[in-house]
């Protein structure tokens, strides 16, 4: 696993202890995963905390990150997102919905020919800005896009 | 012009602001028209299990709605709807429907039962169901020309105890046979 990812996901320090646990059989593989799944980042309640947890606090804004999302989503249950980074050497993308109760939605690491591109659908509790963080050459970049959600009741 | 400022801060478009600033609170007609999808235009029902409200007394409608709202009178959706209105709204709607002309229905009725019901009405019910049921004492509802299926359903609720009968009514109804009651309802339904 590459060292940049470690920084991006966990901050420093956790990696060594984890591999020891696996090799000594203290943890079953999925428990290892659960431990590695960046709890503090995914469970962060505010955008500031979530950003900090993935080391994205000092990112620079970039027009080379494209966020394809509807300006107006009729239904917040499934808002389609398509994210592409044109920044050379992009290895990871992290996606946030700023106003969701848990802002961090996904983070993705690309290797062995995978393009820095991801397509999926997210839940949105209300109108919000989508923020995407890209990591390339040891630096972080970001872009945002506003999506308004109009959900009708019945 | 009188301006109402509520909603000012949150209104966005210019159109929204101007119209809201001028809008009067819901009128009796505004409140009552919404009921007409189920109770017919101006409260004259075309559906045999939904009562006509047109020409009912203000008191009768008012009490019925308040009892729906409190849950004292059993209902399917009327309780859920009545909870959406203030007592002042309820009064306004009651006045609106009481001012409408009593709605005449055309329904298949049994002639022999109508005749029998007429004689029973006179002796038993006339003190409250005035003028052959065209009017009612206090909050007694008008029965004239009301839908037979609706009245049968209400009578079933009374007899099962789901809906509470007023004491005076209970005294008269208890000794009567089902056939007597059926005849009475046919009579009321026939009154134009």
């Amino acid at each position: 696993m590459n060292p940049l990812r470690r920084t991006f996901l966990n901050g420093f320090g956790a990696a060594g202890a984890l591999s020891i646990s696996i090799t000594t059989g203290l943890l079953k593989p999925w428990e290892a995963l659960a431990a590695e799944w960046n709890k503090s980042a995914f469970e962060a309640l505010t955008m500031t905390d979530a950003l900090k947890s993935v080391g994205g606090a000092g990112a620079t804004e970039s027009k080379d990150i494209q966020i394809k999302a509807p300006d107006h989503a009729e239904n917040g249950a499934a808002v389609q997102l398509e994210v592409t980074s044109k920044i050379a050497g992009t290895t990871s993308l992290a996606i946030f919905v700023e106003k969701n109760p848990r802002p961090l939605i996904a983070d993705c690491e690309f290797s062995n020919g995978a393009e820095p591109y991801i397509f999926f659908r997210t839940k949105m509790g209300e109108s919000s800005r989508i923020r995407v963080l890209a990591r390339a050459g040891g630096k972080t970049y970001f872009a945002t896009k506003e999506v308004s959600v109009t959900s009708s009741g019945c | 012009m009188m301006m109402k400022w509520r909603g000012w801060a949150l209104a966005t478009g210019a159109l929204a602001i101007s119209a809201m600033a001028q809008a009067a609170p819901p009128s009796a007609a505004m409140l009552s028209n919404a009921c007409a999808g189920c109770h017919g235009t101006n409260g004259g029902s075309a559906g045999p299990t939904m009562p006509s409200l047109a020409g009912q007394s203000k008191e009768a409608i008012e009490i019925a709605l308040k009892k729906f709202k409190s849950g004292e009178r059993p209902s399917s959706i009327m309780g859920r709807l009545a909870k959406g209105y203030s007592d002042a709204d309820i009064t306004a709607m009651s006045v609106f429907f009481s001012k409408q002309k009593l709605h005449a229905t055309n329904q298949p009725l049994d002639k022999a039962r109508i005749a029998k019901g007429a004689s029973l009405q006179e002796a038993n019910c006339g003190r409250c169901h005035l003028e052959d049921g065209k009017e009612g004492k206090d909050d007694t509802p008008a029965m004239a020309s009301q839908w037979l299926p609706y009245m049968q359903m209400q009578m079933a609720d009374y007899l099962s105890g789901k809906r509470k009968m007023p004491q005076e009514m209970k005294e008269k109804v208890d000794p009567m046979s089902k056939e007597d009651l059926e005849a009475l309802l046919h009579f009321y339904a026939s009154v134009k």
């Binding site: 996901l9 079953k28 999925w30 428990e31 995963l33 659960a34 799944w37 960046n38 995914f42 249950a77 499934a78 808002v79 398509e82 919905v97 969701n100 109760p101 848990r102 961090l104 939605i105 996904a106 983070d107 993705c108 690491e109 690309f110 290797s111 062995n112 020919g113 995978a114 393009e115 591109y117 991801i118 397509f119 999926f120 659908r121 997210t122 839940k123 949105m124 | -």
Partner: protein
Amino acid sequence: MAEAIKIRATLQGDVADVKALMNHVMETGLRQDPASGKVVPAHFIQQVIATFNGKTVLDTRWGPSVSKNPILGFRVKGARAGDKVVIKTTDNKGETLNGEATVA
């Protein structure tokens, strides 16, 4: 147990366009069951790993906000027809889903 992950991988030039469909409730742990009034426990996919011919191309971690029955799309450069795509997910309860397909 939900059925396997369904994958479609199509070649456009030398780039494989992969789309995968997974059956998962993606329960946030914040939702109340309207019938019982109790909070429905969190149950969501936390990790998706995709490999091409055994090499990891995508390693993605998810929070609970990804939509129910997720769809995931990604692209791999330098792919060829016949390449074997394998996708594996693991959720917060340790349950896994698997799927595989061949680039066509």
